[in-house]
């Protein structure tokens, strides 16, 4: 369905559809959720902002973490669980990390049942590669285009099952049944518009799975595609759900820094997993100077040991280039600030002097292609220039670990827009496995919720009228400010004041700026008409980006410690007291800002605590 067919009815001419489950977002988590809900017997539709198969999951490169033990028989869910919790600096929801580690191998095998062609080991099993923070090589992969393979496999499965997809259709509001009371109420549907025509559409559905991804587009330098505007975060917040860990934003250590058109574009961690090392402008392999105490016992402290590890992993410790992402990103940032950066303000990532051209082209075909085409750099002969880039939101909608249900009945969240799984820092490879593990769980639960209701929820016509007014507001202003300028200013502010290294006074300044942006946005105007109008689409996305920006800035100011993806110059170390709690953000009573509350982390049972005793 691309919206070519128009329909309407007596109730105001708005096109309406009725389903048991609506999945918003068609990345890996959304597609997996839709497949699960369909297989559980629900009538399901996927609603997505872009064409099917284009979601940000296509950008995932390195692999999908699953303790299958194909290369290392000693690998197990327990080790994967431990690595994940330590990578997330123990801020993770332990139950999510446990379910994730336990279920990922079966979810990967299922992709193979549906036609995915993973790279193989010599025994013919699914190959597994090394990544930062993982004790064993455990990333199932296809060269360096694993995300594309996963989304294509799920897309083809979806098509085979005949699930409806509403492409290029943007949801702007979650609708609730007014008879379920104010406060969290219960989900009754969703309101949105077709990008192609600008016409409105209402989905009546008792279950909604949010699978909208992250919010990196609020930052200037980011690896994220345009869709990552925090829609699910903002929609859920406005619907009454809480967001957790919003201060924890992952800056990937290796983004391209040149040319300007690709600044921020991801350079996969596989480059380091396959032997790439980081060097400053003086030619020093500087990561040895940045090994934190927490990871010292398992990290090589000489170049000789680090180099031996690639061939003999049993008897040597891992190179410091493979520390978790937050550690590497901070180290690179410090080197650049100390004046040891490259001409374009980055650091060198060198694999050319360490591996043969054949090896590089075989293991990293997309990276070879990307640098050749976009930067005119041959990575088999030269070092890459890279620097940190805004990459992943650990923070998101607070959900129940078993079902991915939020506090709003009927509202589920999965993938990057959900919170808890990754704590304060996500390990590479854990997002693709997150999508398929929790996608299935959310789809199952959403279908069960719909089936268990005695009667379908009702949507209020007043709410539809209000959603329509809100969506059209930017057309009502004459001569107001252009949304593109406001977006650029917001991105610059988030980069400068809520970036990789934070400080109290800067965060306070950011919060003042957020209020200014709110005022500017109220006077924002768009030109043209509703048909495929990107200025209008941006105006609506911008509301979400700003709301999410406010959540991050406020939570970052409140958390007075440094932990994983949240680094405070004025509070440089972790604080055990802060390590025991989440910050929960909710919409305030007037609906024009957000409130913060502290909430204790759930207590880990003793049988799991034993894995952290050494």
């Amino acid at each position: 369905m691309t919206g070519n067919e128009m329909s309407g009815d007596a109730r105001g001419g708005i096109e309406r559809h009725r389903y048991d489950v609506i999945v918003i977002g068609a990345g890996g988590s959304g597609l997996r959720a839709a497949i699960a809900a369909h297989e559980a017997g629900a009538r399901v539709a996927v609603v997505c902002k872009s064409l099917l198969g284009k979601a940000h999951t296509v950008m995932a490169e390195g692999g999908c973490a699953a303790a299958m033990g194909n290369l290392w028989p000693d690998d197990s869910w327990q080790v994967h669980f431990r690595d994940t919790m330590r990578g997330g600096k123990m801020l993770n929801n332990w139950r999510m990390a446990q379910l994730h580690a336990q279920e990922a191998p079966e979810r990967v095998m299922e992709l193979e049942d549906w036609g995915a062609l993973f790279d193989r080991t010599e025994d013919g099993l699914i190959s597994q590669r090394d990544f930062g923070g993982h004790k064993y090589a455990r990333l199932a992969h296809i060269g360096d285009r694993t995300g594309l393979e996963i989304i294509r496999t799920l897309q083809q499965r979806l098509v085979a099952l005949g699930i409806d997809v509403f492409m290029e259709c943007t949801v702007t509001d979650v609708l609730k049944d007014p008879s379920t009371g104010s406060g969290t109420g219960a989900v009754a549907g969703a309101f949105g518009y077709w990008r192609e025509t600008g016409r409105f559409v209402v989905f009546e559905s008792p279950s909604i799975v949010m699978a909208t991804g992250g919010f990196g587009k609020a930052w200037k330098v980011t690896s994220n595609s345009w869709e990552y505007t925090g829609d699910g975060h903002a929609l859920a917040l406005r619907a009454g759900a809480g967001l957790i860990n919003m201060e924890c934003v992952q800056f990937h250590p290796t983004g391209m820094v040149w040319p300007p058109s690709v600044k921020g574009l991801l350079v996969t961690e596989s480059v380091r997993g396959d032997g790439g090392v980081l060097k400053n402008s003086e030619g020093n392999r500087f990561m040895f100077d940045y090994i934190p105490e927490y990871f010292r016992a398992e990290t090589a402290d000489t170049e000789e040991e680090a180099d031996r590890w690639y061939d003999d992993k049993e008897n040597n410790r891992r190179p410091p280039e493979l520390l978790p992402r937050d550690e590497v990103a901070r180290a690179i940032n410090a080197e650049i600030k100390a004046g040891r950066g490259t001409p374009h303000g980055g650091i060198y990532l060198d694999i050319a002097s360490r591996r043969t051209p054949e090896f590089i082209r075989k293991r990293l075909p997309s990276m070879y292609h990307q640098f050749k085409e976009l930067a005119d750099v041959d990575i088999t002969a030269e070092a890459m220039e890279i620097g940190p880039t805004c990459h992943y939101a650990m923070g998101g909608i607070e959900v129940d670990p078993e079902t991915e249900a939020s506090v709003v009945p009927g509202l589920y969240a999965v993938g990057e827009c959900s919170g808890g799984m990754h704590g304060s820092n996500r390990l590479g490879g854990n997002s693709l496995s997150d999508l398929i593990v929790f996608g299935k769980r959310a789809g199952d639960a959403a279908a069960a919720h719909a089936a268990g209701l005695p009667e379908p929820p009702r949507i209020s016509e007043d709410d539809i009228a209000a959603a329509q007014r809100d969506a059209l507001a930017p057309f009502e202003v004459e001569g107001g400010e252009n949304p593109y300028t406001i977006q650029q200013d917001l991105q610059q502010t988030m980069n400068d004041l809520v970036g990789i290294i934070r400080e109290g006074p800067e965060l306070e300044q950011a919060i003042v700026k957020v209020e200014e942006f709110k005022a500017r946005m109220a006077r924002m105007a768009v030109e043209g008409h509703r048909q495929y109008n990107p200025g209008w689409h941006l105006a609506l996305d911008l509301r979400n980006m700003l709301l999410v920006g406010e959540c991050v800035a406020k939570a970052a100011l409140a958390r007075k410690e440094s932990r994983g993806g949240h680094t405070r110059n004025d509070y440089p170390g972790p604080d055990p007291e802060w390590g025991a709690k989440n910050l929960v953000v909710t919409l305030n009573s007037t609906g024009d800002g957000v409130d913060l509350a502290e909430k204790s982390l759930p207590e880990m049972p003793d049988e799991l605590k034993q894995y952290f005793e050494d």
Binding site: N4, G115, D119, L148, S261, V262, E527, H529
Partner: protein, 256 residues
């Protein structure tokens, strides 16, 4: 370094349109999509263009640059002389929606005609085994980012709208070939490739291979072998006889 780029961009919708002439400031290292984005942000806020990743990985920003089917994000301005006017038009083989955005639903309809992968049961230990050398053939085809530039340039549909119902195009011949060469697939899709897919209409001009931004050898590695397999099954008299008397496996009809 920076210079003023002259651009002609097609503006319009199904009812018609015309070229807009623009001058856009661009800088070193930029691609055509950067110029389009600057145009949007400064002069034409409602200029419609599809894009997602800006990294050549999603295949959304397909269009025609100086008449050639290309990805806007993978076309560097340094490929052109600074004095040259760059003309950007929507893909010609699909109906235009607005400006540079086309209705590509043809491709999503054709995708539904390809029967899904059908593997045998897993091995006794719950795993599956395939050799790397065997998965590599299919992996080449699975690099496809579905930009549909091959579909756009294929003259069987580009100049003959009436062929669309009978012809699924290079993107889906790739998909047929990928499934046919999958080490674990149990279906035979040769009849479908010829019947519903219309692979016989392809006359191997290699236009699709030329425009593929992923460098997939669509014609040599997918279409020609697929055509040979169809021909082998259908037209070789010895094979025909073998099938007739039950010496060769019969086709599944290929659908679950």
């Amino acid at each position: 370094m920076g210079y003023d780029l002259s651009m002609r961009v097609w503006r319009g919708d199904q009812s018609g349109g015309d070229f807009g002439d623009y001058t856009v400031e661009v800088s070193e290292g930029e691609v055509v999509l950067d110029a389009i984005h600057r145009l949007q942000a400064t002069q034409a806020g409602d200029l419609a263009v599809r894009w997602n990743c800006k990294a050549g990985k999603c295949g959304s920003c397909s269009a025609e640059i100086n008449g050639k089917p290309r990805l806007l994000c993978m076309t560097r301005l340094s490929d052109f002389d600074p004095s040259e006017t760059i003309t950007v038009t929507p893909m010609r083989a699909f109906p235009v929606i607005r400006d540079l955005v086309c209705d590509v639903s043809f491709n999503y309809e054709k995708a539904k005609e390809v029967p899904s992968f059908a593997p045998p049961p897993r091995d006794a230990d719950g795993k599956r085994r395939m050799a790397q050398v065997d998965v590599e053939r299919g992996q080449e085809f699975r690099k496809c980012i579905e930009c549909f530039l091959c579909q756009d340039t294929c003259h069987v549909v580009r100049d003959h709208e009436e062929n669309k119902p009978a012809f699924s195009g290079p993107r889906f011949f790739l998909r047929f070939a990928e499934l046919d060469m999958h080490p674990l697939d149990t279906h035979d899709r040769r009849e479908l490739a010829q019947g519903a897919g219309g692979i016989g209409l392809c006359n191997i001009t290699k236009c699709c291979t030329e425009v593929c931004p992923e460098g997939i050898k669509i014609t040599d590695n997918a279409i020609i072998p697929m055509k040979e397999r169809v021909a082998d099954k259908k037209y070789d008299p010895l094979v025909w006889l073998g099938n007739k008397i039950g010496l060769r496996n019969r086709d599944y009809d290929g659908r679950d």
